[in-house]
């Protein structure tokens, strides 16, 4: 079996290559320059240069798919990836199974899992589909010692003109690698509250994260610290949710955690359904107490 992979994000590229190792040959198409991508056993890495216009990328991939003898296409579910996949699906009239977090290859069919109803259901389905978008967190990142050759290809220009590309602030954190994550939600109440959480983060040598409102609406934390369906998918040894109510969108991003601890004022908060250990009460009182017992 031969896979065509597209990811404009390094982490997702590494995860999917780790996942596919031993399951077939694969070629990674990416806009990311990382030298570290060569250590995952790809037959080759095709670095896409030029402006990242989605129609241009999907046309290029669709030509490569036809000429390269590929069986299946795996595209990282990112802002660009989802568009590339949808255009590819339309252009090639190939049905896409979107947002998968697991895939098994049978003879002639695949069995995939994805969330439905906003995370309230896991849909397991069997199909003959050849095109998938996959969520971040598909697999652990397991580098090997190979060295894939890199070639470059230029993205053809399309009818959409790219005028400017501004880099967002550099990523501060790699939540996927954290052993312990301390995450804050709306219940924190104010940005200044973060200072009072930091002693706990330090004491457990963990990383600070946040829910969607905290990162995207209030900007108390940077976007790359957002855990949830639309943010990072994490699987730490321990996940501490402080003042997070437990909306399904958040749960989808931390469900794989080994142990979940929740602190919330509201004893009916849904997060307690998803927790191993819960404390009902004021997080500003409880956090220093936990620190004192460490």
């Amino acid at each position: 079996m031969k896979f065509l992979i597209f990811s404009d994000i390094e982490d997702s590229a590494k995860q999917v290559m780790s996942f596919l190792k031993g399951k077939g040959d694969f070629v990674l198409y990416t806009t990311e320059k990382g030298e570290s991508l060569t250590k995952y056993g790809a037959q080759k890495i095709v670095l896409l240069t030029g402006k990242p216009e989605v129609k241009g990328i999907s046309s290029l991939l669709s030509d490569e798919f036809s000429s390269g003898g590929y069986d299946l296409v795996m595209i990282a579910s990112t802002v660009l990836g989802r568009d590339v996949a949808s255009l590819f699906s339309g252009q090639k009239s190939i049905e896409v199974i979107p947002e998968i977090f697991d895939i098994k290859f049978n003879s002639g069919t695949v069995t995939t899992k994805r969330y439905g109803l906003g995370g309230k259901a896991v849909i397991e389905e069997e199909s003959k589909s050849k095109l998938f978008t996959f969520l971040s967190g598909l697999s652990d990142d397991v580098p090997g010692d190979g060295s894939s050759p890199i070639e470059t290809k230029n993205i053809p220009e399309g009818v959409v003109k790219i005028l400017a590309i501004e880099q967002k602030k550099a990523k501060e954190v790699n939540l996927e690698k954290a052993n312990i994550i301390v995450a804050v939600g709306r219940g924190l109440g104010k940005i200044e509250g973060i200072q009072q959480i930091e002693p706990l983060v330090k004491a457990v040598r963990g990383e600070l994260a946040g829910s969607r409102p905290v990162c995207l609406d209030y900007h108390w934390l940077s976007e790359d610290r957002q855990v949830g369906y639309s943010g990072r998918t994490v699987k730490p040894k321990a996940y501490v949710a402080l003042g997070i109510s437990g909306q399904i969108q958040h749960i989808a991003g931390m469900r794989g955690s080994k142990v979940v601890v929740a602190v919330n004022k509201d004893k009916n908060a849904p997060i307690f359904q998803e927790a191993d250990y819960g404390i009902v009460g004021d997080l500003y009182q409880i956090v220093p107490k936990i620190v004192s017992y460490l």
């Binding site: 990112t78 790219i162 004893k267 998803e274």
Partner: protein, 248 residues
Amino acid sequence: MPYDIVVLIKQIPDLELIKVNQSTEEPITDGVPFKFENLSKNSVEAAVRIKEKNGGKITAVLFGNEKGTQVMKEAYAMGVDEGILITGYSENNPVLTAKVLAQKIKQLHYDLVILGNQSADSMSGMVAGLVATELNLPLLSNAVSIEVADKIVKVSTATEKDVIKSETTMPAVISVTQETNEPRFPPVLQIIKAGKKSISTEQSTVKIENTSKIISKKAPKSERKRLIFEDVDKGAQEVAKVLKEAMK
């Protein structure tokens, strides 16, 4: 210069009200009320803002079921001029949805098609690109801001790493995000007026072969211990123990 806009809107079950059938482990959607999907509100808002500045007509198209009339009335109250409800939606299938919507859009006059980038229930993120392909139109997606002038549309797209500014000539398909705008709450008078407005309803006739078969659709399993402490001190001690273990 006035712009005619088609907005694609969606009804979804109220996800927070979905319960799980304990014996089958399946989520229960029967009887769960539908609501106006959030990103559809952002789409309507984006269209109404363009209309307020430039003039033009907004037509909303909803592929759903009979209950969609309620959602359409909310869209009217926000400023949509004409609503078309296509019934016959059963399961989430982005390819089918895109074909149904595109077939209808082709019969309308438009400069822009606006829709949400990734709806809150199925989250596929596929419909915008599929509609653009069906209509053979350029796609400007995941817009966090939209500007129109002289039949040219410019958007900013926030990816995970960059903010990309791009433009194209109309007609075009634009998908919007939650960050695009803050949808308005229409005044009561407009809601009352909207209730009286007619909605044209038709049945979908598009059929496609469904190549995937659902094996199971169950609530995600949670095998958490759920040891909940109301005694804060005892809880903190226990949690400290757990964290020490995880630090090893």
